[in-house]
């Protein structure tokens, strides 16, 4: 058990809900002085809400926060800084146009008669960086340095300005390369040695095992548990994040699509060495008519990046993509639609749904875009299409003139699906189509995907729920560290996939 003096932060039974969702339920979180504590969980697990509660961005409905043995209410981000809790975000919140020294000390800079004392400013900043063994010219603009250095400057600012006791690093490594990451880890270890407690949020398993002392896993807003890193095998960690014990995963029903594929048929979509520097290592992929390929992998493994390349949102800088034997030369979503490729993006709130438009308008969007704006679809035709899909997909709504913002998550998802189906694509890429919707709706969407495949459409199905991937895919591609880790046929077991995700073949 923890000694009481060991804990610098003790969050007990924290609950927070947003309209319709319980983001956190009775979560306990304890942080010791001088430890690196990894906070793990898939999207929607409650990591960011927990951090927002700690930094005063959100206020919990229940629960207490004890800092250094005293109960505190964190009122605002400024207040949390004053309490000694500093956060360094993935997007570095510094200004690239002013010097490194200013970025560290601005707002606190040494002055003489209202004039900035540049020499002392630079000396102080250089000394602060030196403490972490970073030796750079602090008078140069921050933008001249790499992201890794910028990240460390952000950390130094947090330590200098706020004299932080707790440092939260939110996905600090996602834009760093291997060298930069190890540089950051050195800094983290040095800080740990001085007694600073570090909360390390990341989705890179390797890094967690490299640097953290303990791991707390959250899932669906609940605490799964806190573990010593050394005592938690990697496979166990993944199972805990995904919410299935290994035994459970073994017994997943194999109710997958049973129809056999004509093996000889030519692929409709073929990627050869398709890659994008920094986000996706070159990858090969073949998709046949009537086939469902499942893309499994943890968050950040390169799943969505692949989807974006296939749909032409991003332009690959390596490899080729052929649709129906014709190589794609211009990468744009519009072009892809013309070729019969459609993408249902991951974050429906940000990238998919237009809340202030009606169901009909949302469904018509993509179709109209493909038609070109000059050829306006007659309104009667729009209603016809919209109503057909509402019926087909079982969207629960009084009328197609309802604003999409008023629908439940599952129904919103169906509206997006309808939008792409209306363009009658032959290749459909679904990125997390069942996230955050209830079990019934999930099953319906899965069934729908299988029906579409039966009609001869090719589908790329991305999901972090293994069961789902196993149930409906004929082939499963496992992604890890922004590359294809393995490809399996339909007889693969969950155990194998988890081991591949964990990095041992």
């Amino acid at each position: 058990m923890l000694e009481p003096t060991d804990a610098i932060l003790r969050m007990s039974r924290i609950s927070k809900s947003f309209p319709g969702v319980a983001a956190l339920e009775d979560v306990d979180f304890t942080l010791r002085r001088g430890e690196i504590h990894a906070l793990m969980g898939e999207n929607g697990a409650g990591k960011s809400t927990l951090i927002k509660v700690l930094t005063g961005v959100e206020h919990p409905e229940h629960g207490t926060i004890e800092l250094d043995g005293r109960v505190v209410q964190v009122r605002s981000p400024q207040h949390s800084q004053a309490l000694g809790i500093s956060t360094v975000y993935q997007e570095i919140n510094l200004c690239t146009n002013i010097s490194v020294a200013e970025n560290i000390l601005l707002g606190n800079e040494p002055q003489r008669f209202g004039t900035i004392d540049w020499r002392r400013l630079n000396a102080l900043a250089a000394r602060a960086l030196k403490r972490l063994d970073i030796d750079i010219d602090v008078a140069r603009p921050l933008g001249n340095y790499s992201l890794a250095i910028q990240q460390m400057v952000a950390i130094v600012r947090a330590l200098e300005i706020a004299s932080a006791k707790i440092l939260i690093l939110d996905e600090p490594t996602s834009s760093l390369d291997a060298n930069e990451t190890s540089l950051l880890f050195d800094v983290m270890r040095k800080l740990r040695a001085t007694g600073i407690a570090i909360v390390f949020v990341t989705h890179f398993l390797d890094q967690v095992y490299q640097v953290s002392d303990r791991i707390t896993v959250l899932r669906n807003g609940r605490l799964v548990g806190t573990y010593e890193t050394g005592a938690l095998p990697r496979v166990e960690l993944i199972a805990k994040m995904l919410g299935r014990s290994l035994a459970d995963l073994e017994t997943v029903s194999k109710a997958r699509a049973q129809h056999e594929l004509p093996a000889a048929e030519a692929p409709t979509l073929k990627a050869a060495g398709l890659g994008h520097k920094g986000t996706l290592e070159p990858i090969d992929l073949e998709l046949r008519p009537g086939e469902v390929i499942g893309l499994a992998g943890l968050l950040g493994s390169g799943r969505s990046e692949l989807a974006r390349l296939l749909f032409g949102v991003d332009t690959p800088d390596a490899g080729t993509l052929t649709v129906d034997g014709r190589p794609v030369t211009r990468f744009s979503p519009n072009e892809s639609l013309r070729h019969g490729v459609a993408l249902c993006p991951e974050d429906r709130k940000v990238e998919g749904i237009v809340k202030d438009l009606t169901i009909r308008e949302n469904i018509i969007l993509a179709l109209q875009a493909r038609q070109g704006w000059a050829r306006y679809l007659p309104e009667a035709r729009q209603y016809e299409i919209a109503e057909a899909y509402v019926k087909l997909l079982g969207i629960v709504t009084p009328s197609v003139d309802q604003l999409v913002g008023n629908l439940s998550g599952g129904n919103q998802q169906k509206v997006i699906l309808a939008r792409w189906l209306a363009t009658s694509p032959r290749i459909l890429i679904l990125d997390e189509p069942t996230r955050g919707i209830d079990v019934g709706a999930k099953a319906e969407i899965q069934k729908l995907v299988l029906d579409l495949a039966e009609e001869g459409k090719s589908i790329v199905f991305i999901s972090s729920e293994l069961e789902e991937v196993l149930r409906i895919s004929q082939r499963v591609i496992v992604m890890r560290d922004q590359r294809k880790a393995a490809e399996y046929g339909k007889d693969v077991t969950a155990q194998t996939i988890i081991h591949t995700m964990a990095g041992h073949q």
Partner: protein
């Protein structure tokens, strides 16, 4: 090239280009029209462009925060009319001038308040401010009002000879701009206010998260621009010894062009008053060139400034892209 010089060139490229173009234009002018070689022609740049320099300096700070101030020309007009009428009614000049400056500061602060607290686009707020100020100028007087005040007359007509340069002079009001310029150099590089302006222009969200006084600084910047506009208005009324609502037509656009030619990016965060000084000088030099030529329409000034501004925006983007990739 060593890494250091390369970085210096990359960081100061747009400014160096501005200076080079000014020198080039001036030297070419001197070759074409020998009369232009006289030192007085150079000092005339400050006499003729005193107001433009002042509002451009205020505009520089606004643009550095990523904003824009379209009200400056109208505030000049309003200031000339208001001070002319007040002087006509017997108010002493030493009361009128501070009063005008206060009006400018208050006017700018109100615009800044709208921009910051109500989150309205600077473009819209200052455009409305421009309508308001220009309208007020005409409400005060529909016709031109002459200034007969003795003090103003003295300021307007007493030449100050430049030491070491024979026969070269400026009028007192032409010194306001250069003095203000020195003050703003200090403001921009040696005060927390100045550095905060740069930080906001780079990324307002970051500046806020860094705990910098974003709201106060933004409002101050517009108040400062208002102050500069009123100051430019006073200079204008001294130079022409009159006030009129029609004065300084669309000078806000000349000011913006000068700032941009000086290497300040409209997106904020990059640039400085030194560049603006040269931007204004380039503007003035083009006018001088046309005057010496004598046969060309004065509208060529606009065309020249427009073309140069476009060229500069192109150069800036180029440098910006380079810096991004080489950083």
């Amino acid at each position: 090239m060593t890494q250091r010089t390369k970085l210096f060139l990359l960081n100061h490229g747009p400014l160096l280009t501005t200076v080079a173009i000014f020198l080039l234009a001036y030297v070419i002018g001197g070759q074409l029209y020998p009369a232009m070689q006289k030192p007085q022609v150079f000092f005339n740049l400050f006499i003729n462009n005193g107001s433009l320099l002042i509002v451009s300096i205020g505009m520089t700070f606004v643009i550095l925060t990523g904003g824009i101030d379209l009200s400056v020309a109208s505030v000049i007009a309003l200031t000339t009319v208001a001070s002319a009428v007040l002087l006509q009614n017997g108010l002493p000049p030493l009361v009128v001038m501070p009063l005008m400056l206060l009006m400018g500061i208050a006017f700018g602060a109100v615009l800044g308040g709208f921009i910051h607290f109500l989150k309205v686009q600077p473009f819209v707020v200052t455009l409305m401010g421009s309508f308001f100020a220009r309208g007020m100028a005409y409400i005060i007087s529909l016709t031109s009002v002459t200034i007969k005040d003795g003090f103003y007359n003295d300021l307007a007509l007493t030449p100050i000879y430049i030491p070491f340069v024979p026969n070269a002079y400026v009028y007192s009001y032409a010194l306001v701009g250069p003095v203000l310029f020195l003050v703003t150099i200090y403001l921009a590089f040696f005060t927390r206010f100045g550095r905060t302006v740069y930080a906001i222009g780079n990324n307002e969200q970051s500046a806020r998260l860094m705990g910098l006084p974003v709201g106060r600084t933004k409002i101050s910047v517009y108040a400062f621009s208002g102050f500069c506009s009123a100051l430019a208005g006073i200079v204008w009324s001294i130079a022409l010894l009159s006030g009129y609502g029609r004065y300084a037509p669309s000078m806000e656009l000349d000011a913006i062009a000068s700032v941009v030619m000086g290497g300040t990016m409209l997106t904020g965060g990059v640039g400085n008053p030194v560049g603006t000084l040269f931007g204004v000088l380039i503007n003035g030099t083009i006018v001088s060139l046309l005057q010496f030529n004598g046969t060309l329409s004065s509208w060529w000034t606009r065309i020249g400034v427009g073309a140069l501004t476009l060229v500069f925006i192109g150069i800036q983007s180029l440098f910006y892209v380079r810096r991004k990739t080489s950083g």
